[in-house]
């Protein structure tokens, strides 16, 4: 594995602050699996200094390209936004463990909140390839951050939307959708759950799924420096008391094993 300079081939605005970028990264596109991430150096300057982690949004192995979906929140993502096709960023990856795609024997329920939508596209591509039934529960604050709905539906994904600005679907949180889904599917066999989103949402989901008996995989985020388990900066505590590294042992964990707040 190496770090490699990757050319930007396309960059589109979804909203003023959310962007989809496409990069030429043949090695990564070949090796990666859903839930893994790349660690990006956005400039060769010294500020920002550290690499930034981004989930793989979609992989196109034959084209040798990957896509990322990101929100501009600080200097690193602002620099990235200002880059144009032809410009180059440096990537390490693919990193992390990725999702277990076989665990939902039959029906996968994917819960995405905010930028948790990023890895979900790739995940669903892979689940559909494996002929799984897929339900996507997708919530955002701003309804414009929900997109490609028609495409999901055309491919047979059961899509339920929640927005806090009431612009699309249910007016409220994605966890409301999850509660409804679980009530409707109480006792169903062959289910498996995937959760991607900000920590408060993952905590809420942890609470909600306590009563279910199938596997819930959650993708976590932590501040990262190295991205490969060396700096020990991105620790997460498991309920066993054990410490694991989000970058190397994760970012995907069994949601029930995560010990939030001690």
């Amino acid at each position: 594995m190496q770090t490699s300079d990757c050319k930007i081939t396309a960059q589109d605005a979804i909203t003023e602050s959310v962007f989809r970028i496409r990069l030429s990264a043949p090695g990564i596109s070949k090796l990666c699996s859903p839930g893994q991430f790349v660690h990006m150096r956005v400039s060769t300057g010294l500020d920002p200094l550290l690499r930034r982690p981004f989930s793989i949004h979609r992989a196109h192995e034959s084209a040798g390209e990957i896509e990322l979906l990101y929100r501009v929140v600080g200097s690193g993502t602002a620099t990235l936004r200002d880059l144009k096709p032809g410009d180059v960023v440096n990537l390490m990856g693919p990193l992390g463990n990725g999702f277990d795609l076989e665990k939902p024997v039959d029906h996968a329920v994917v819960v995405a909140g905010g930028m948790g939508g990023a890895p979900v596209f790739y995940l669903i591509d892979a689940l559909l390839k494996r002929n799984k039934r897929v339900t996507l529960l997708w919530g955002t604050r701003d309804g414009r951050e929900i997109f490609d709905e028609a495409d999901f539906e055309a491919r047979g994904v059961a899509l339920k939307i929640a927005t806090e600005d009431a612009s699309k679907g249910h007016n409220g949180l994605v966890t409301d959708l999850l509660k409804t889904f679980l009530a409707q599917h109480a006792g169903s066999a062959g289910l498996g759950g995937y959760v991607c989103g900000p920590e408060p949402m993952i905590r809420a989901v942890q609470d909600i799924v306590r009563s279910t008996d199938f596997l819930w995989q959650a993708s976590l985020e932590e501040q990262m420096a190295c991205g490969v388990g060396v700096c020990l900066g991105c620790a997460v505590k498991l309920k066993t008391g054990e410490i694991q590294m989000v970058c190397k042992d994760g970012p995907v964990f069994d949601i029930r094993e995560i010990a939030f707040n001690g």
Binding site: L46, L49, Q223, A225, V228, G229, V230, L232, K237
Partner: protein, 307 residues
């Protein structure tokens, strides 16, 4: 051919580039990215008597041209280090320097007594400078007499080269460096991280759970250079320089200021192949400047003509 070798006490490094403790794991983690046998040596993560989980999260944050960490010496403990980590380095052709810390003066000696017979350990670096622990660490390295006591204790246990890693968080690093020298250290390395802090202005919480952590990266390079220069003026034993080295040119600055070897820390996170690229850069620099032995530039700082 340029002779890149340098000597730290009885230890010869094939080149002056080491990877710094806490930024290179136990030595093999970055194998996919570089050939570690090309390095002058590896300093492994600080090991303590018992395993440690480290400090609460968050324990890293970014700052202008730098980063803060408050890992808190998370490590596998000496038992697992000996049985599981060192064997992974068995047949790597580079020097392995074990970095150690204790909660008490005696613990430093105890852990060194456990490590010192291991054939894979070529030298020992004593960490009396970690800003992220309650006991040992900074509290020891800011006090010349405690530093001296730690070094003496360790010196009694081992004939291997002993390097004392110094903190910049002191009024006069020369005093601490001399205490280390006088107590039998073979070299000092400086610097460990600089105490630093950050605040999230929206939550009003500190960026690090433990509030104050250690600053590393290019931001601290000028500070590290000054400390290396001051330490090199104060002692006759070799000084190993680190702090903010991002490329070969930075390494040359440290050598000229008085360092015999250098370590790369934060660089490894940003460019894992960086340390090896640095060695190549040092060689090119020597060729360009007609330097046949890199050791010749150590401490070669010239005074400026006064304008």
């Amino acid at each position: 051919m340029v002779d890149l070798s340098v000597k730290i006490g009885s230890l010869t490094l094939k080149n002056p580039v080491l990877t710094a403790s806490g930024t290179f794991g136990y030595g093999r983690e970055y194998d996919p990215y570089l050939d570690i046998s090309q390095l002058g040596g590896i300093v492994t993560k600080t090991v303590t008597l018992e395993p440690r989980q480290g400090n609460p999260m968050p324990r890293i944050a970014e700052t202008p041209a730098g980063m803060l960490n408050s890992i808190g010496l998370s490590n596998v403990g000496v038992e697992k280090y000996l049985n599981e980590k060192l064997p992974l380095l068995a047949d790597v052709d580079t020097n392995v320097i074990a970095n150690v810390a204790g909660n008490t003066i005696d613990e430093y000696a105890e852990i060194v007594s456990r490590l010192q017979h291991h054939p894979r350990i070529d030298a020992i670096e004593i960490n009396v400078s970690c800003p992220n622990v309650e006991k040992g660490g900074l509290a020891f390295g800011t006090d010349a007499s405690v530093t001296a006591a730690v070094v003496k204790g360790v010196r009694n246990q081992t004939g291997k080269p002993v390097i004392v890693k110094l903190t910049p968080n002191v009024t006069d690093i020369g005093v601490i460096a001399r205490a280390a020298e006088d107590s039998g250290a073979d070299a000092v390395s400086c610097i460990n991280t600089v105490q630093g802090m950050g605040v999230n202005i929206h939550t009003r919480q500190p960026l690090l759970a433990r509030i104050i952590g250690g600053l590393s990266g290019p931001a601290i390079k000028p500070i590290a250079l000054a400390k290396v220069y001051q330490a090199a003026q104060a002692v006759r034993i070799p000084v190993i320089g680190l702090g903010g080295i991002m490329g070969w040119a930075d390494a040359v600055e440290f050598l000229i200021a008085g360092a015999t070897a250098v370590q790369t820390g934060t660089l490894n996170f940003i460019e894992p192949a960086g340390p090896v690229q640095l060695i190549q850069g040092l060689e090119s620099y020597c060729i360009t400047h007609n330097i046949s032995r890199i050791a010749d530039i150590i401490g070669s700082l010239e005074k400026r003509p006064v304008k």
